[in-house]
């Protein structure tokens, strides 16, 4: 089952180090805990942070779901799911409701999460201030002093330039009224799902060597202004497979004539609706 590897690939010393980082991340919600990220059998940028977090929390009884942009059947999701099936021998699923651990790249499932579930996010750039100030030393001071004025200026400049806040993914949030946090490149459509979620949210950035967390039932506020409140994108189209108008839709170009079609980004959600008899939009 797991021949040739320790359970869940990582050695026990590494797991202990990551587990200690996870516990401190939970104790200081939204703060990025540095950790000694290991080389994994796939390159940085393919979810090594998420994989290390998953490997450190995973047990025999867990049921793992892995999604990539909402889909269970894309390369990254399939590879990571098979990786853990092989090195840990755990059960895997594509059903959100059946999973105890959901590792994700860039989406939160449409099905509401429940208490006891753990979301593990793959994070490319954990530092929300990175594009405003490249120096880690300065950003660390900003976090220590809760000085996040620069981010508000950035959002303000968006409004001046485009008439609205143009950030549509990795939209910065304030966790429990203290730390500014990058929610990883999830669409801002998913930001409200972070707020007071009954599930525990863990974030792993392998290349950047950071782990952070949002405990269950924790207030998570998307930054905005009184006269420019945070708003979600909406579609006038419905999913062409299941007809849903409320889920996050991917746009698919069909030909060179500009014909296009929209489908649910969350494949499990879409398949469940189709199985229940929902039809697609024409």
């Amino acid at each position: 089952m797991t021949a040739g590897y320790n359970f869940a690939y990582l050695d026990e010393q590494t797991k202990r180090m990551i587990r200690r980082a996870i516990l401190k991340a939970v104790a200081v919600p939204g703060y990025q805990v540095p950790f000694a990220s290991r080389e994994m059998p796939l390159p940085f940028g393919w979810g090594t942070g998420g994989i290390q977090v998953t490997a450190s929390i995973l047990g025999h009884a867990d049921i793992l779901k892995v999604i990539d942009q909402g889909a269970d059947d894309t390369t990254n999701a399939v590879s990571i799911r098979r990786f853990f099936a092989r090195v840990a021998g755990v059960a895997t699923t594509t059903r959100t409701a059946a999973a105890t651990i959901i590792q994700t790249r860039h989406r939160i499932p449409e099905t509401p999460l429940r208490a006891g579930q753990i979301m593990v996010f793959q994070v490319p750039i954990p530092e929300p201030l990175r594009w405003l100030e490249p120096r880690e030393s300065e950003n660390r001071k900003s976090h220590a002093m809760a000085d996040y004025g620069a981010m508000h200026v950035k959002l303000y400049e968006d409004i001046v330039r485009y008439g609205q806040i143009a950030t549509s993914y990795d939209y910065p949030v304030r966790v429990a009224g203290r730390y500014l946090m990058a929610p990883s490149p999830i669409p801002k459509f998913d930001n409200p799902k972070l707020d007071r979620s009954p599930a525990l949210m863990l974030f792993g950035a392998g290349r950047e060597k950071r782990i952070y967390a949002i405990p269950p039932h924790t207030p998570v506020v998307s930054l905005d202004f009184e006269d420019h409140p945070f708003s979600l994108q909406r579609w006038t189209e419905a999913c062409s497979q299941c007809g849903d108008t409320a889920s996050f839709l991917d746009e698919i170009l069909l030909d060179d004539q500009g014909n296009r079609r929209f489908v649910c980004s969350d494949t499990d959600h879409c398949a469940a609706r189709q199985a229940a008899g929902a039809g697609g939009a024409p």
Binding site: N6, F7, E12, Q13, K15, R16, M17, R19, R20, A21, I22, L23, K24, A25, V26, A27, V28, P29, Y31, V33, P34, S56, I57, L58, G59, H60, R140, K141, H143, A144, M145, A176, R178, Y179, R196, L200, A213, I214, P215, P216, H217, T218, P219
Partner: protein, 202 residues
């Protein structure tokens, strides 16, 4: 008559977990659950037996990277065990410890003596583990806990620990993001009190 040779005296060290990989994972998830849901009593896995709770936490989280402070009573019984199984350095001063193992509220030093982290690196703060079945320091009081990890509509209520302890937890929380994180272990379950917890003493 058979005078025992000096080397035959009982120097055995009690064993660790029968299944170290599986049991440390289960213990970790218990601790994670407890700290992510402050005030909730989480049942530790049955597989830790016969290892007592304090030692189980140490076997799960402590190693050569974590200086550990033990109160005198724990040190007398478990110093050799922890050195052998975890390889962790044992320190004499509480402020040098990443982890502290304490048997009962009566033996808990003032929380302010543990390292609370620094503003740029609050994750370097100590984790203090208290066995609440140990000697008490006073009558248990009732407290109401809120904060991250606690549903706003359902504050968690505990009747545990003396008032002086909870006053220290309040002071500890006031320094957020600095502060130590507490784990109370006992027969009734394990309870996490991260520094984010807000305490109202009844």
């Amino acid at each position: 008559m058979s005078a025992a040779a000096p080397w035959a005296e009982d120097r055995t060290i009690a064993p660790g977990f029968a299944d170290p990989v599986g049991t440390t994972q289960a213990v970790f998830r218990t601790v994670l659950d407890a700290l992510a849901n402050p005030g909730l009593a989480v049942r530790p896995p049955a597989a830790i037996a016969p290892v007592p709770a304090l030692a189980a936490v140490a076997l799960t989280l402590c190693d050569l990277d974590t200086p550990v402070w033990l109160d005198e009573s724990v040190a007398a019984r478990w110093a050799g065990y922890l050195k052998f199984h975890c390889g962790c350095p044992l320190v004499a001063a509480p402020q040098e410890a990443a982890f502290a193992m304490v048997d009962g509220f009566a033996r808990l030093p003032p929380l302010a003596r543990f390292f609370p982290g620094e503003p740029a690196f609050p994750d370097t703060a100590a984790t203090v583990v208290v066995d609440v079945d140990g000697p008490p320091a006073g009558p248990d009081v009732s407290v109401r806990l809120t904060g991250p990890g606690v549903p706003e509509a359902e504050p968690r209520v505990l009747a545990l620990g003396p008032a002086a302890f909870w006053e220290q937890v309040q002071a500890n929380g006031a320094a957020f993001p600095l502060g130590v994180d507490l784990l109370l272990v006992g027969r009734a379950g394990w309870i996490g009190l991260p520094r984010t917890v807000a305490v109202e003493i009844a």
